[in-house]
Structures are given as C-alpha cells and as structure tokens.
Amino acid sequence: MSTRELTCIGCPLGCAVTVTLENGDVTAVAGNTCPRGDAYARKEVTNPTRIVTSTVRVKGGVVAMTNVKTASDIPKDKIFDCVEALRDVVVTAPVTIGDVILPDAAGTGVAIVAARNVAALSEAQQQ
C-alpha cells in the first residue's frame, strides 16, 4: 500500500488530497471537499490530464492573436506535442469561440478550438 499527496486543481480552493493506492489501484481518496476532487485524484495518479491553452496567429483580425484551447483535457505528456502542432497554424478572421482550429490535437483525438472572438478588420481599417 502506498499514498500520494496531491493538490487538487479542480477549482481555486486547491484541496490537499491524499490518495491511497494498492498495486496501482486507487483504494481511497481523502481530503477533497467535492466529487471533482475525488475524480481529479483518481485520474492524476493513473492518467494525469490537462486542458491546454495557447495562441495562434490571426490574419486580417482586429488583434494579431487568438486564444485556443483543447476542447477537453488531454494526457499531460502530450502537452508539448499539442503546442508544437499549433506552431505554423494561421487562421483568418473572423474567429468565433468554438471554431475548430485543429480537429485532432497531436493524436489525442481531442480538437483544439478557438477560445476568443476576433472580429475581421474592415476594409478601411486594413488600409
């Protein structure tokens, strides 16, 4: 039997959670104040995941960059691959929250979507 001490990242409360493991299986979770903490702790010791946010360049928009994020959490060890996949991506304004930027982030099966609206520059502004 072993235990791991975690800080839950499910919400800003940051509960100190203790996970008890037996032969790699979670047998108990303690210290969490809500079910999210339980779920987070179980996942963190077996298959840790994160939401990844980044930026991609926008052509013809009122701002130069838009904000993107993975539509759901992806394996922690795929974070850098996911960012790398965005390296050369350029989108054209207008950009709307939820627009799919990449359908599959680094083979995770999770899409990368826009997380910021960017209006297109009017023709007058472009000149």
């Binding site: 930026t55 960059m65 960012v83 790398e84 390296r87």
Partner: protein, 483 residues
Amino acid sequence: MYDVAIIGAGVTGSAIARELSRYQANICVIEREEDVCGGTSKANSAIIHAGFDAAPGSLKARLNVRGNQMMDALAKELDIPFLRNGSLVTCTKDQDRGGLCALLEKGRKNGVPDLRILERDELAALEPNIGDDVVCALYAPTGGIVCPFHMTMAYAENACVNGVTFFLNTKVTSIRKAETGYTIETTHTDTGEAETFLAKTVVNAAGVYADTFNNMVSSHKIHITARKGEYCLLDKDAGTHVSHTIFQLPSKMGKGVLVTPTVHGNLLVGPTAVDVENKEAVNTTQDGLDALSRTASLSVKNLPMRQVITSFAGLRAHEDGDDFVIGEAPDAKGFINAAGIESPGLSSAPAIGEMVAELVRGLLSLSEKPDFVAERKGILRPETLSMEERNRLIRENPAYGNIICRCEMITEGEILDAIHRPLGARSLDGVKRRTRAGMGRCQAGFCSPRTMEILEREVPMRMFDITKNGVGSNIVVGVNKEI
C-alpha cells in the same frame, strides 16, 4: 573634412554644437549611444545651481553663475521646462553654523545674487517638512530646476536644424594628429563598420571618457574618475513634499544628499557619491539606496520613500584637478577639451557652449551664419491647452485624442512628434525622455507595447529591432514558439 568634430552628444557637446551652429562651418557630433543625452546628462540632479558651491576664481564658479544667468532667456528660446524654485542649504543643530556662513561668503565672491541665511522660523514657514534638527539654511533664490533631457535635446535639435550632422551609434576608437587637423577612427556600434572622420578641430566632450581622448593626442595627461551617484525618484503624489531644492551642508559624514521637486512634478532624492573603477557601472546598489533615505531624512522629514517609482545611477566625470578642464590642449593645436564636466556641469552648459564656441570661432576665423534659427519649439503638450484648443488640435490631428501613457496622460500625437522631429526617437527610452511616456508610476508597464506598435509603424522598424535604449537592448527576442 569637417571644420569641427564634437565627441559626445551630452548636454556639454550639444550646447557647444548649438552655439557653433551660429557660424558658417561644417560641424559634426559623434556619439556612441543611439540617442543624444545617453550618458551623464541623463542621470543627474536636474538642478540649475545658483553657484555658491565652487571655489571663487574657478571655472566651475564662473561658468555656473554665468550659465545660471543665461537660463531664463535660453529656456524661452529653446522651449525648455525651467523653474527658479530657489535652493536651501540646511544646517542642523549638530553642525557648524560657520560652514554655512563660509558658503554664503563664497557665493557672494562668485557673484551669486540675493543670498541670505534664513532662521528656523522663516525656514519652517517656507518648507513645512524641513527636518526637525535643521536650525538655519542658506537661501539662494536663483537656484532652479530643469529637465536635463529636454535641455540636451533642445540644444541638439536646434544644432541639427542649423546644419550640424549627428552620427549616433558611433564609437570613437582613436584620434591622431593629421597633416591638417585630426583623424578620428570610429566603429558603428550596431553594424561594426569602421568610418574615418577628418576634422580641422576636435571638441572633446566625452564625459567620463574625455581623459582617454585627450591622452591620445596630448602629453598633458588628464585623469577622470567616474563618481557614481544613486537616486530615487518618487511619485507625483509626493511631488509637493518640498518646493525648494534642499541641500545639506557638507559635514565629516559626507556631502549629504538633496531633496528636490522636479520640473515635471516628481520628487527626487540623491545622489550618493562613490568613486568606481568601471566607467559603465550605472547600477544601483542596496547600500546606496539604503543610504539615500537615511541621509535625506536629516534635512527633510516624513519623506514618503514608499512612493519611490524608480531608482537610477549616473556617473559624474571627476577630474583630479577638481575643476572643469576647458580649452585647447597646450600641445595639440585645434584639440579643445570640455572635460571633467561634473556638477555643476548642467548649470554651466550654456556658458561652456558659449565659451568653447568663441574659442573655436577664433581658431577657425568663423563668420556668422545669416540664416541661423535661434528658436526651437518643444513637443506640444496638449495638457497645457484649454479644452477648445485641445479639441481643435484633435480635429486637425486625431492622434492627440489618443492617450498612450495613462500615468502621464501622454497622447499618440506627442509620440509621433517625438519620432518625427529632428534627431527623433528610435527607442522606448527615446520616446520616454522626449514625451515622458513610460516615466510615470507604472514605469511603462502599460504603454510600452503600445509605444512599440507606434515605433513599428512610424519609423518604420521591425518589432524585433525595437530597443529600450539602443544596440543590444531589444525588447522582444522572437515570435511565439519560435525562439
């Protein structure tokens, strides 16, 4: 072949350039930094001293008093912020009153007008925050405050308009006597390219490096020590803590530090005085900053040191002889020094300019330029206008309606002016020193990305090439994911 090559575009070199631009001559200024006012002139007390401090008969005494007298007309002609706020030298109960009287006597000998000693009651009425232990003070109503950036830039811009060529980012590597005049070898600080200048006469206004250049051509060696002075600048909220420039009577504990309002409404405390080996050591130190608040509190009480918005250090060029070294080197005809220009160098600059220009005029038998333009207009400050005038300005140029620096309320229009005027700004500090954008309490956190966009568009230049203050001080190093 230049008639005159001036080394150094600080206040001394710029003042000389401007005074010489009255004459028909081919003049250039060679400056290592990317902008004028990049060395000693940018980091000092910003004081126009009354002139009681220097030994009677010295160049410092004579040129300070003369420079001080010239300031009203000059400030008007070149549109420089200048205020005669008066200065006080405080004497505490533990100090010798005789020292103050000696200072008064010295000042009278130097020709400083209207000096008198104020007693505690009168002093406290004048300056409610004067230190509790201060018993009396020497009052010099002619003491003043100035913006050293604007003063230097005004001189340089006016020289430029009158035909002087400025070579910035150009570092002098050697000077030798030539058949006629001098050969000056330089390296461009950015490209590394070498360029040779030939000049009939050379004016050495190279600040802490003036000894190096003098010693290249003259056997009459001079030796300059860099004397570091650290300062703290306080928020405008503290700007009215005192209204006069408050000096301390020197004692065995040291020369003391001054507390003064600035022409822009901040409060300045400093300087320390430490001789340093490294002539590039413009770093502040924990000891220095600690010493400032400790020492300043002897003359001014309740100093709100929590309101410090920035601290900085400058290097004064102290010559071993303890006086300015101005004039032709005895064994190097046509090589004119303006060296050892430490305090009161800023105050003396107008008189040094006049003196050196007269010297060079004599040497080269220069005649006056009929179309010399004596007046220069500074950057228009919309905040000085009425709402009607301001709105007329914005209708003509909408950039004056767009605030870029929220702390100092500086508009895009002012920044455009700073970029497009003679010797215009090419860096964030260049914009800051000309307009004050970035000089306020948030210290450019808010406006620097916005100012960068303007520089990118207007100069134009690439974002990667935008610097804080010249070669090597780039603000960004690449784009996201590509560094």
